[in-house]
Symmetry: D4
Subunit: 147 residues, 8 copies
C-alpha cells in the first residue's frame, strides 16, 4: 500500500523533514508533497506577472499563483497533515483543513496541547490529533502496514 | 431577489448586528444566519451528552454538535461573510472559508488592513475583502438591487 | 430555523414518539420523517408486484420498494437519528449511517453504552452519540435555538 | 482486465484467504485490499495518540485512525465484498455497504441464508449475494474473463 | 409526505391517465409530470427555429428542445415511472432509465411479462417492475401512506 | 409548470424586455433574472471596497462582486439564454455558456446567422440556437405548455 | 494521446472486430473494452449464485452481475460507442447511452439511417452519429491524431 | 512534480510552441495538450459523417466531434492556459474558461493589456493573467520547482 501525503501549514520549523525522515526509517512507501516553503519566494510568487500597485493586490496575485500548486497537490493526496506552530496566525493551515473537510479528504492535525481549544472545530473534522511528528509517522506506519 | 447570508467568525463584537441593521435600513430582503454566538453555550454544546474525561474530548464533543448547525447553515446560504477580529486566532473562521472554497460557495471577508498579509490565501478565494460592515452592506445592496 | 429529521433504525420501541413529544414540548420547528415502521407492512411492501418464488427475492422486492421511501427521505433531511435497540441485528440502521457518511449528511446515534465498542465505526462518523431520547431532543433544541 | 477488490467485514474467519487463493488458482488479475484484520491492533489504532479517559473516546480515536485506511481503500476499489459472519454484530460491515451504496460503488455480500431477512436492505443494493467464497471467486472470474 | 413523479415512455396509450386517476382515488399527494405527449407537436418541437435540410437534423433540433423539458422534470422528480408499450422501440424510455440510474434517481418500470428478458438491464436498476398501472398506484400509495 | 430563466450577455439592446413582454403576452409562468445591466454600475461594482491602483485590479474587484450575483442566479435557473449582439466581444456571454455546459445547465443561444461559425463550440452545447426573441419565447412556450 | 473506448450494444454482428481492426490498421493507441458478448454466458452470469424460481429473477440476478463489469468499464472509458443493430430491441444500448449522458461521458452512436427518428433522443446527446464502423474509426483517428 | 497543461484558444500564432520550448529549456516535467490547431481540419472534423445541408449543422457536427477531444483533455489537465489573440472573437476560449471555472479546474489567461476590460469576468476566475509566454513558463516553473 502506498500513500501520498500533503504537508500543510507552518513553514518556520523542520517538522516536514522530521516526518520524511521518520517515514523513511520506518520503510514506508509514502510520497510527501508540500506548498512552497521558501517564504520570500512564496510571497513573490506572482511578481513576475507585473506590479500591482498595492500590498493587498500583490498578496492576492501571489496567493492565486500558489493556489495552482496547493489545490492540485491537496486533491492528489490521500492524506493531509495540517501543522499549527507556536507563532503566526496560520490561517492558511485552517483554510486547508476546511477545504479538506468539504472535499471529504482525510486530514490529521499536528499541534501542541495549549491551542486545543482554539482549534476545536479544526480538530473535530480531523481523523487524528498529533502533538509530535513521531505520532504522525506512527499513524502513517499503522495505516500502511496494517499492524 | 432574496439572499441568505451566513455570518461566520468573530463572536466578541457586534459586527453581525451592524450588518443586520444596515441591511434593514437599506430595505434588503436578506435572511441572516450565524453559528451559536453565546460563547459559554457554544463551548458546552455537547455537555448534555456526558462527561468526556479530558478537555480535548469535551471540545471535540461540543464542536461536533455545533457543526450540525454550522455546516447546514453554510450549505443553505447564498453567501458567507467571514469576519476576522483583532483578537483570538479565529481558526474556525479560516476553516469555514476553506470549506466554502471547496464547495464553490461565494464568501467575502471582513477584516482590518493590518492582517492582509496573513490572510492572503483566504482573501484570494474570496469574492471581496471588506474592512467595514458598511462595505458588506453595500455589497449586499448592489448584488440584490442591481444598481 | 427549521429542521427536517429522519428517524432511522429500531421499530420495536416508542423512541420516535418520545423524540416527537420532546420536540413538541420544547416548541421546536422540526419535521420528523421515518421509514415504514409497521413491520408486517414493510416486509410485504413488494407483495402486490407478484410472487417471487423464494424468501430471498420476496425480501429483495420489498426492500427495493421501501428504498424508494427511505432514500428520498434521508436525502431530504437535515439530520438523521440512527437508533440501535437491544434486540435484532439492525444492519439497516448501520447501512443508513454509512449511506449518510458518504453523502456528508450529518447524523447522531442513539444507543446504550453496552454496545459502544461494536458501533465504534458508526459512532466515529456521527456528530453525537446519545443514550436517551432526551439527549436527542436537547441536541435538536440547542441546534435550533442556539442557546 | 484488472480489478481491485476491497474485502470488508468479518475478521474472525479465513474467508479473505479463501478468496485470495481462489482468485490466484483461477489466474485472475485482482488486487485485494482489506481493513486491519488484527483485532487487538485495530482496537489500539489510536492509542499512540494518548490516553482518552473513557472507553468511548478510546474507540472513537481508534476508529477515526482506521477510517484513514478503510475510506481510502474503499474509494480506490472497483468492487467491495461485504462479509457477515455468524458471530458479532458487524455493524461496520453494514456501514461499509451503505457507504458504497451512496457512492455508487458496486458491492457483493457474503453471508449464510439464515440471515437473509435481517440483511434485506443491505442485499437490495448489492450486485450479488454469495453464500460461499467460491461464488465470490466465480463472480470475479466471470467479470474479468467475460465468459 | 408529497411526491413528484415523472411519467416517461409510451405516448400511444392512456397509462398516464390511469395512474393519475388511481392516485387521485387513493387521495395521494402526488404531482405528475411528463414529456410532451402530443406526438406531432413533439416531432415539430424545433421547427420554429428554422429549416434544417435533413430529417436527421430536424429530429436533432426537436429532440434538443424537448430535452429542456424532460431533463429538468426528471431532475425535479422524486420518482420516475418508465413505461414500455407493445409497439415501437421506445429507446427514449430506456435512455431515461439509464439517465436516472446514473443520477441515482429511483425509477420503476411498467411493462408486460413478455419483454422481461429484453429489459433485464433496465429492470435490474429499477426499484420495482410493475405490469399494471394499479401496481404503480399501489406502490405510490404504500410509499406515501407508509402502511 | 414554472421556469426560472437567466438572461446572459449583451446589455446594449432591449432583447431582455422583448423576451419578458413576449412571455407575458403568452401567459407563461416564467421568472426572469439577469446580471446587472447598468453598465457604469457594473464596472463600478467593487469601487466601494477601495482604490486598487490599476485598471486591471479595479476590473478584477468589480468582476468578483458581480460574480456573487451572476453565479448564484445561473445556478438557481432552469434555463439560461445567452445573447451575442453585433458589437463588443462579449466573452462573458461565452464564459457563462461554458459555465452552464460544465454544470449540465441547459442553455439556448440568441444571435444572428453571420456569427454562426465563430460560435460553433458554444452552439454545439446549446439546446437551441435562436435568431429572434420571438423564437426564444416560442421555445419557452412549448416547453412550459407542452403543445 | 491514448483513449479507452467502450463498445456498447449489439452482440450479434462483428462490428466490434471491425472497429478494432480499423483502429489497429490506423495505428491508433486505443484500448477497447466491451460487455460480455457471449450471449448464453451473459444470460447465465448469475446462475452460479443459485436458483431463483422465476425467469424474471434469474434475469435480474444475471443483469446485476453483468453490471459489475459494464458500469465499471463505462466509467473508466474516455468514449463509448453505442451500437443499434437491425434486430432486437437493444434497450440496454439505449440505457447505456442515457447512463453516459447523465455522467457527462461522451458517446457516439452507430446505426442505420432507417432508425434515425426512433433514436432521436439518443442521438441528440451523442457527439456523433455514424452509420459505418469506418466512420467510427475515422472519428477516433481524428480525435487522437489531431489532423 | 509533473503537470499536464492544456493550451486553449488562439490557433493563428505560435504561442503554444513558445511555451513548449520555454518549458523544455527550463527542464520542466510538463505534458502539453491542445485542441486540433489545424484550422481547416478542425472545421471539417465531422465531414466524414456525411452532408448536413446547411453551414450551421456542418459546424455543429464538427464542433461536437472536436468536443470529444477538448472536453477529455481539459478534464485530464492540471492547469489550462487560455489564450486570447488580437484577431477573431475566440468565444471558444472564453467558453473553455467558463467550463474550467465551473469544474474548479485552475486556469491562467494569456492576452494583451488592451483587452483587459472586456475579459474582466474571465480574468476574475483565473489564477493569473499573463501577457507573455515567458510569464506562463515562469508560472509553470515556479509551481513545479517550488522556488
Amino acid at each position: 500500500m502506498t500513500f501520498t501525503v500533503y504537508l500543510s501549514g507552518e513553514i518556520h520549523s523542520d517538522w516536514r523533514d522530521q516526518i520524511r525522515r521518520g517515514a523513511e526509517s520506518a520503510g514506508l512507501d509514502v510520497t510527501f508533497t508540500a506548498p512552497v516553503t521558501d517564504h520570500p519566494a512564496s510571497d513573490a510568487a506572482g511578481d513576475h506577472l507585473g506590479e500591482t500597485g498595492t500590498q493587498f493586490w500583490r498578496d492576492h496575485q501571489s496567493a492565486k499563483v500558489n493556489a495552482i500548486r496547493t489545490r492540485t497537490l491537496i486533491q492528489q493526496s490521500d492524506l493531509v497533515v495540517v501543522r499549527f506552530g507556536d507563532q503566526y496566525k496560520q490561517w492558511n493551515a485552517a483554510f486547508d483543513a476546511g477545504y479538506c473537510a468539504a472535499l471529504g479528504k482525510p486530514y490529521v492535525t499536528l499541534h501542541d496541547a495549549n491551542i486545543v481549544h482554539a482549534l476545536k472545530e479544526v480538530d473535530a473534522e480531523a481523523q487524528a490529533w498529533c502533538t509530535t511528528t513521531d505520532q504522525v509517522v506512527e499513524t502513517l506506519r499503522y495505516v500502511l502496514q496494517a499492524s
